[in-house]
Symmetry: C2
Subunit: 228 residues, 2 copies
C-alpha cells in the first residue's frame, strides 16, 4: 500500500507582523465598503426586482463583514478610518477603469472583479496568526454572487453566441485591471506579502498567490462557458 | 382646576380592509428598496469616509425593514414582489426629477424626500389594525438621517449664506416633488386612504395628513435655519 502523500503546508511558515495584520484589516474594511458600493450600484441598475433585492442584500452583507473587522481593529487599538483611507485611491481606481456598456458587462465586471478580490482576501486570511485566521474565515462569508451570476447568465449565453464572445473579451479586460490592482496592492503595501502563504521569499509567494487567483478566475469564467 | 382636555383620537375610527393593509406593506417594501438605493448612492458620493460609512449603514437598515414587511406579507399569503412592483413606476420617478448639482443639494434632497416618505409611512402605520400597528411601529425605526444631515449642514450654512439661500430654494423644489408624489400615491392606490387617521371622509383625512407632512417638513427645514 502506497503511503498517503503529505498535504502541502496550509499554515504560514512564518509569523506575520502586527503591521501586516493591520494592513489586512484595512484592506478587508475598504474592500467591504467598495464592494458595498459596487453591488448597490448593480442592484440599482438590475432589470428586475428579484435581482435588485438579491444584490441589495449582498451589498448589505459586505457591511456586516466590514463591521466585524472594524471591531477586530478596535480591540487592537487601531484607527480603523485611517486604515481604510490608506486603500481608498487604489480601490476607487479599480471601479473606474472598465465602464460597462450594458447590464451584462456590468454583471461580468462584478463577477470577475469582486470575486477576485474575495479570493485575494481569503488567500491573505490564510496567512494570519492562527486564532485570528479562524475568526476571520468564520466571518468572511461567501456572498453567493458567483452562483447568482451563473444562474442569470448561463441560459442567456447558451442562446446568444455573439454576446458570449463579447463578454469573454470584456472579462479579459476586467481581469487585466484586477491583476494589475493586485500587483499595486502588494507594491504599495509591502507588509501584505507576509500573509502570502507557501514556500520561498515574499516575491515567490506573491507570484504563486497571483497564479492561484488567475486559476480561480479561469475556473469561474469556464463555469459560464467563456474562455479566460 | 381646569379639566385636562381630551387627547385627539390616535386610533383609526374605522377598521381598514385587508386590501389597504397589503397596499401599505407593498408601499413600505418598495420605499425600503428605493431608500436603500438613494442612501447607497449618497454614500458612494460622500466627500469623506465617515459620512460614507454612516450612509451605507442607513441604507442597509432600510433592507432590514424591507425584510420585516416581506415576512409580514408572506404570513398573510401575499405575493410580495408583485406588491412592490405596483409601486415601482411611482417611486422610481421621484428619484429622477430633481437632479442635485452638488453634494449639498444631494444631502438636502434626501433630507427632504426620504424623511417625508418616512413620515408618510409612520402616519399610515397609525391607521393599521391595532396588533399590526404596534408591530410595524416597533420595526420601522428612525434611521437618524435627519440628525446626521443637521450635524453636517448646520455649521456650513451658518458660514455660507449664499449656499443657504440656494438650498432653501432647492428644498422648496424637492418638497414640491414630494407632495405631488404623495397625491399620486393616494390617487393611484385608493385603499391607502383608509389608513389616514382622523375625522371625516377619505378626502378630508388625506388632506389633513398632507398638512401634517408639510408641517413636519417646515419644522425639519427650520431646524437647518432654512425657510420652507
Amino acid at each position: 500500500m502506497e503511503p498517503v502523500p503529505a498535504a502541502p503546508p496550509a499554515q504560514p511558515t512564518h509569523t506575520p507582523s502586527e503591521a501586516a495584520v493591520l494592513e489586512f484589516l484595512g484592506l478587508v474594511g475598504y474592500s467591504g465598503l467598495g464592494s458595498f458600493g459596487m453591488l448597490a450600484a448593480d442592484a440599482q441598475r438590475a432589470p428586475d426586482l428579484r435581482s435588485r433585492l438579491v444584490l441589495a442584500h449582498m451589498a448589505a452583507g459586505e457591511l456586516a463583514e466590514l463591521d466585524y473587522v472594524e471591531e477586530v481593529a478596535r480591540v487592537r487599538g487601531a484607527d480603523f478610518e485611517a486604515m481604510l483611507a490608506d486603500y481608498r485611491d487604489l480601490l476607487e481606481d479599480f471601479g473606474l477603469r472598465a465602464v460597462p456598456r450594458d447590464w451584462w458587462e456590468r454583471l461580468v465586471r462584478t463577477y470577475v472583479g469582486y470575486n477576485m478580490l474575495q479570493d485575494l482576501l481569503r488567500e491573505l486570511g490564510e496567512g494570519l496568526p492562527a486564532e485570528l485566521r479562524d475568526a476571520i474565515a468564520a466571518n468572511l462569508g461567501r456572498s453567493g454572487h458567483d452562483e447568482f451570476v451563473a444562474a442569470e447568465l448561463l441560459p442567456v449565453l447558451e442562446r446568444e453566441t455573439q454576446l458570449a464572445s463579447r463578454l469573454a473579451l470584456w472579462g479579459r479586460r476586467v481581469v487585466g485591471d484586477g491583476l494589475s490592482l493586485v500587483q499595486r496592492l502588494f507594491r504599495d503595501h509591502p507588509p501584505l506579502a507576509e500573509l502570502a502563504t507557501g514556500e520561498g521569499d515574499a516575491e515567490a509567494r506573491v507570484a504563486a498567490l497571483t497564479g492561484r487567483l488567475q486559476q480561480e478566475h479561469a475556473r469561474r469564467l469556464g463555469r459560464l462557458g467563456l474562455n479566460a
